[in-house]
Amino acid sequence: MGTKTSFDFAGNIEGALKDDQLRRNLRKAMDILVEKRHTVFPDSNELQQLRAAGNAIKRRALQQLPQLLEQLEANCTANGIQVHWAEDTAQANRIVLDIMRRHEAPAIVKGKSMVSEEMHLNHFLAEQGIEAVETDLGEFIIQLNHETPSHIIVPAIHKNKDEVATIFHEKLADTPYTEDVEELTAIARRALRKRFASAKVGLSGVNFAIAETGTLLLVENEGNGRMCTTAPDVHVAVMGLEKVVAKLSDVPPLLRLLTGSATGQIITTYVNMITSPRKNDEQDGPKEVHLVILDNGRSRILADPQLRETLLCIRCGTCLNHCPVYVRIGGHAYGHVYPGPIGKILTPQMEGLERAGVLATASSLCGACGEVCPVKIPIPDLIRRLRNESYDQEQTAVVDGGGYKQNLAETMVWRGWELANRVPAIHEMGTRLAGAMGKHLPKVGPLKQWTCVRNTPRLARSTLHERVRNEGVSHE
């Protein structure tokens, strides 16, 4: 989806708002996630301490980012993991393809990975005649239905069980219609076990890469991540370059924050730490492990001291769950891989303001995302920064496409506004004019957009000053 040059955000939003089923599914799901997070972090003081620690750990990692990546590379290489660097998603896709070709693998089993979504890897591999099999239950469901994830943690959360039942019945051979969730899960287990047993290559993301030991850490509940990283001959891990942390001891507080914020769990079913391919005396595990480190605009984001904070993100998705906009429109309306508040700040920086800057407008700046972020990313500040860069009045924009919204009419209006508020005579004249014209505001341009869903403001004929002069002040 991100390959589109433009997308109809307003149209998407309108469509989503009219979809009652979608809105019911989302509301229910997000309320559950918010409540579960609340239950797992009952002590507010403790949570604030933990968030401060998480923020400091990730900030320290960013402070030493190039050094840590070099250390990670050196340690991974010493452990036998092959490290690849990709400047953009095309390079990353190419690296995965080369590995697939070398092993003559017709298919790849995939654990959940947002970076692989960012790469549009499935689509790319399909064009090369290679089948990518999503194995996370939610991802499996939406892949069958040719959809993309609508949430970064619970990708099929926009679907209810009736819809899943229909998808399985229609898309999987010999599958009777059932709305029983246990049975639906069992169907997926049966379908995917064969794939795990036969796949030559498995793919995963990375939650944290630990520089001091060269270890890739993954969290999950289903076991599909362990399958993809253990059963095939080859394991390919893809990660954004901001995922590296310095030390093993950095991990426990980040894990608490990640699993607590993402799904309201103290710990996931599995914490899977991978440090090397199969050694000579070992019986199983992949014989090759590859790590693909992806930049795709991140090094550019890192260069600005404020925008850099975007890279603190640990992809827990809690900002989505708490966002009044996301809850009403869902992930697909955003038209890009990363939806919700984090998507609003990340996507425009990756793809440029002209293509994706409109995402930053979908916020009431209520501040909820910033309040819940486990690593304290000031998301509302960054949204405002991107909005300002879209106009770039000070000519200081650093994000691609800065000033794309500048237009003469608007600039003139604001110049006029500035003048009117500096010169009392003009202000006076303007006020009188507004009073006289008040009932006849022309319904064009932004005014029309405003008034088509709201009452037209009616300006008073006389100013408050005049009324006080003429009528006095009643203290009743």
């Binding site: 799901a29 190039p66 246990e182 509940n221 599995y270 019986q283 260069a303």
Partner: protein
């Protein structure tokens, strides 16, 4: 291959150059300490681990050190396990053999995992109904057993069979993941694969309905040897 390697070296050089030039070394790092972790005595650790893991449907049994094999037999008969995967060279291998290689009725056939998975995959995925492993320890604060699979007890043992039985020494339960990593100096060298396992495989991807046994074991049994 060669040109691919060159491309990759070029990408690496350019990415690192951008990162070094980014000025990120000036990032302010607040001086914040990690909140203190919980600590427990021996009994509290057993209690907390049992409580947390049971809450996510792990079956925890605290047994006398010499009696854990009896519990395995009891469970095997009760559940009708037919084929049990074990590691003969592993820490509990000999004890399992002694306990289960008998003429008694109703006990599972023992299957040794001693060959490369390539020649064993079909059998492993389709014929085994329980895998039994030792553990390296456990962490009490979040509730999980810790496994470092070894050549003697390979990685898939705790993943592929529908039931995983994990045998844990009460003395190997640490307060927290950090405490365990520090006490055992994990930073000095990590194994091929290290795992924290808190329960049976589960999902809530359909309407948040919790279902156990998606891709990994449907049941996790932890025997704590006291």
């Amino acid at each position: 291959m060669n040109s691919a390697t060159n491309d990759n070296q070029g990408a690496r050089k350019r990415i690192l150059a951008r990162l070094y030039a980014s000025g990120t070394h000036t990032t302010v790092v607040p001086d914040v300490s990690i909140p203190p972790e919980l600590s427990f005595d021996r009994d509290e650790k057993i209690e907390r681990l049992t409580m947390l893991m049971s809450a996510i449907r792990t079956e925890v049994h605290v047994v006398d050190n010499g009696a854990w094999q009896d519990k395995v037999k009891e469970l095997a008969r009760e559940r009708g396990w037919k084929r049990m995967l074990y590691g003969p060279q592993g820490p509990i291998g000999p004890e399992i053999e002694t306990a289960l290689r008998t003429t008694e009725d109703g006990l599972p056939e023992l299957v040794a995992y001693m060959q490369p998975v390539e020649t064993f995959k079909e059998e492993l995925f389709t014929t085994i109904d329980v895998g039994i492993t030792s553990t390296r320890g456990a962490v009490a604060d979040t509730g999980a057993v810790v496994l470092w699979p070894t050549p003697a007890e390979p990685r898939l043992m705790s993943l592929v069979p529908p039931v995983h039985v994990a045998v844990l020494d009460a003395d190997a339960i640490y307060d927290s993941m950090n405490a365990m990593m520090a006490a055992e100096n994990w930073a000095r060298g990590m194994p091929t694969n290290a795992l924290l396992i808190s329960g049976p495989s589960k999902t809530a991807d359909i309407e948040f309905t919790l279902v156990f046994g998606v891709h990994g074991p449907k049941e996790l049994v932890v025997l704590i040897r006291k």
